[in-house]
Symmetry: C2
Subunit: 301 residues, 2 copies
C-alpha cells in the first residue's frame, strides 16, 4: 500500500508507419517506475499513442525522453495523415490518477513545457486545465492551421513557452492536464467521407449534439470505410453506449451501418460497466459479479 | 503463488424468503480458506444460491455445514416457489477451478454425497459429470416430479446413495460436477406466462433452439412480468449476446419487449469480453485495454 501520487500520460506522436521510429520512442519510455500500459498505432492517422503511468518524476523523465527521440526522428514536412497535428510530438496530456490532483498534473505539464522549450527549442502551447488563456483551452483551437500554418500563426501570437517560430521538423507541442477521456472511433461501412462528416457534426456537442462528445470525420478510405473519431470527455454523464447508438441512428439516415469500433489507449472500467448495464439491460451488473475479479479480491488463504 | 487446486461450489437452497434462515446458511459457510464470492436470493423462485470458492477439504466442510443447517431449517412441505426443486438443498455442483481437474471435482461430489447420505439421511442423486447412469446426467431428469413426486419415484428406483424414501422435510439432493455455466435470466414485459414458455422453447437447445442453452419459463407475475430462466452451459460456443438477441427476437413475435436481465451467481470474464466485442462491434477489446486491469498488472514500483 503506497500513496505516492500516480499520473497517466498519453503522448501522441505524429508517426504511425515506421516501426523503427516507433520502437525507438517506446524504448525511450523505459524508466524504472513507469509502466507502458498501452501502445496504439494507426497508419491512416499516421499517429501513435503511448499510455504511460507512473509517479511524477519518473513519468516526466520517460515523457521527455520520448519527446527527444520523436523530435530527432520525425520530420513533419514529409508527414501525411488524416489526423490534424501541429507537431512531431503533437499532444501530451497529463491525467491525475491515484492520490494525485489536477493541480499536480498541471505542474507536471509546466515542468515538461519548460524542459522541452529550453532543451529542444520547441514552441509550447499549454491547453485544457493547463491553459493560460481561454482561447487555448480547446485543443482544436490550439491545433488550428496545423503544422503547415504554424509559422504564420507564430508571427501573430506568441506561444506559452519557447521560440516564436516552429521547430523546422518538429513543429510545436501542446501540453496539457485533463481528466480521463475515452478516445472512441467508429468505422462506417461507406467510402463517403461526407457521411462521416455529417454524423460527426450531429453527435458533436459543439455543433448541437451530445455535450460530452468531440468528434471529427477521418478519411480512412484506404480501409474501404470512413471513421468518426471521438473523444468522450465526460463519459460518466455522456456514456459510450448512448454515443454509439446516436452514431448508429445518424448513419442510418444515410443507409449506412457501423462496421466496427475501437478505443485508442485505455478505457476506464466504468465504460465496461456502462456497456454491460445498457446492452444487457442488467442494472445489477457490477465488476464483483465477474468470477475473475471476485477471485482477485478473495482473502488470502 | 500457490498451486493448491481450487474449486467453485454453487449450492442452491430452496429458501428465498426468510432472512434468518438465509443468514444461518451463510454463517455456516464461514470456514477458513473458503470465500463467499456471491449470494443471490430470489423470493419468486423462493431459492438462494451461494457462490463459494476454496480448496477441496475446506470447501467440503463449508458446503456440508450449510447443508446441515438447510436440512434442519427448511421444510419443503410448506415451500412454494416457481423454480422446480427436489430438496431443501436442491442442487450442489462442484466446478474445477484453478489447478483442479474434473476428476477431482467428481471426487468432491462423491465425498459430499457419502457424508450427506450417512449423516443427514438424505437420498443423493449424482448428476452431470458425477452421474452414475446416463438417465441422471441432465438435472431436469433428476428433478422430474419434484419434491411432491419423490416418494413414489423412490419406490420405483433407488437413489445413488442414502435411503429409498425422501427425507420428511428436506426431500433429496442432487450433487454433481460440471464446468462453469452462466445462469442468465431475462424478464419479459408481459404477464402472459405462455409467452415466456414459447420463448423458452424457441431458445432451448433440446427443443430446437441454441445447443448450449437450457431454458425454463418462470412465473414472476408478482413483479408484473415473466421470466425466461436460462443456463448457458457452453458459453464459449453459444455466447450470451447471441442468446439475448434470440430471446429478444422470439419475444418480439408477440410484441413483447425485454424489461431487464440478471445473472445469478457470478459470470466469467469471457462473458464481459463477449458483450464488449458483440455490442460495441469492437473485435480489439481485451481486458488489458481496461485501465484498472492494466494498472493491477503493472509491475510493482
Amino acid at each position: 500500500m503506497t500513496s505516492v501520487p500516480l499520473f497517466e500520460c498519453v503522448p501522441n506522436f505524429s508517426e504511425g508507419r515506421h516501426p523503427q521510429v516507433l520502437a525507438a520512442i517506446r524504448e525511450a519510455a523505459i524508466v524504472p517506475g513507469v509502466s507502458l500500459l498501452g501502445f496504439d498505432s494507426d497508419s491512416d492517422h499516421n499517429r501513435s499513442v503511448l499510455t504511460l503511468v507512473g509517479p511524477a518524476e519518473a513519468l516526466l523523465t520517460a515523457v521527455f525522453q520520448t519527446t527527444e527521440v520523436a523530435v530527432a526522428q520525425i520530420d513533419l514536412n514529409s508527414h501525411k495523415g488524416v489526423h490534424p497535428r501541429i507537431g512531431a510530438v503533437d499532444v501530451v496530456p497529463f491525467v491525475p490518477w491515484r492520490a494525485a490532483t489536477m493541480g499536480q498534473a498541471r505542474e507536471l505539464a509546466r515542468q515538461l513545457g519548460e524542459q522541452v522549450a529550453s532543451q529542444l527549442n520547441l514552441p509550447v502551447y499549454f491547453y485544457a486545465e493547463a491553459a493560460t488563456t481561454s482561447e487555448r483551452v480547446n485543443l482544436q483551437d490550439v491545433r488550428r492551421g496545423e503544422f503547415e500554418g504554424l509559422a504564420e500563426r507564430l508571427l501573430r501570437e506568441k506561444p506559452d513557452l519557447g521560440p516564436s517560430k516552429p521547430h523546422a521538423t518538429a513543429g510545436a507541442v501542446a501540453i496539457g492536464a485533463r481528466q480521463i477521456l475515452v478516445a472512441f472511433n467508429v468505422f462506417l461501412r461507406t467510402q463517403d467521407i461526407k457521411i462521416a462528416r455529417a454524423v460527426a457534426r450531429a453527435v458533436r456537442g459543439s455543433s448541437g449534439g451530445l455535450l460530452g462528445v468531440k468528434a471529427l470525420a477521418m478519411d480512412t478510405r484506404s480501409q474501404s470505410r470512413v471513421q468518426v473519431s471521438m473523444n468522450l470527455v465526460d463519459y460518466p454523464r455522456t456514456p459510450l453506449p448512448r454515443v454509439l447508438e446516436m452514431v448508429r441512428l445518424e448513419a442510418q439516415r444515410f443507409g449506412v451501418a457501423i462496421a466496427e469500433t475501437e478505443v485508442v489507449g485505455l478505457m476506464p472500467q466504468a465504460v465496461v460497466d456502462d456497456v454491460m448495464r445498457y446492452y444487457l439491460q442488467m442494472p445489477g451488473f457490477s465488476r464483483d459479479r465477474v468470477l475473475e475479479t471476485a477471485l482477485l479480491a478473495r482473502d488470502p488463504e
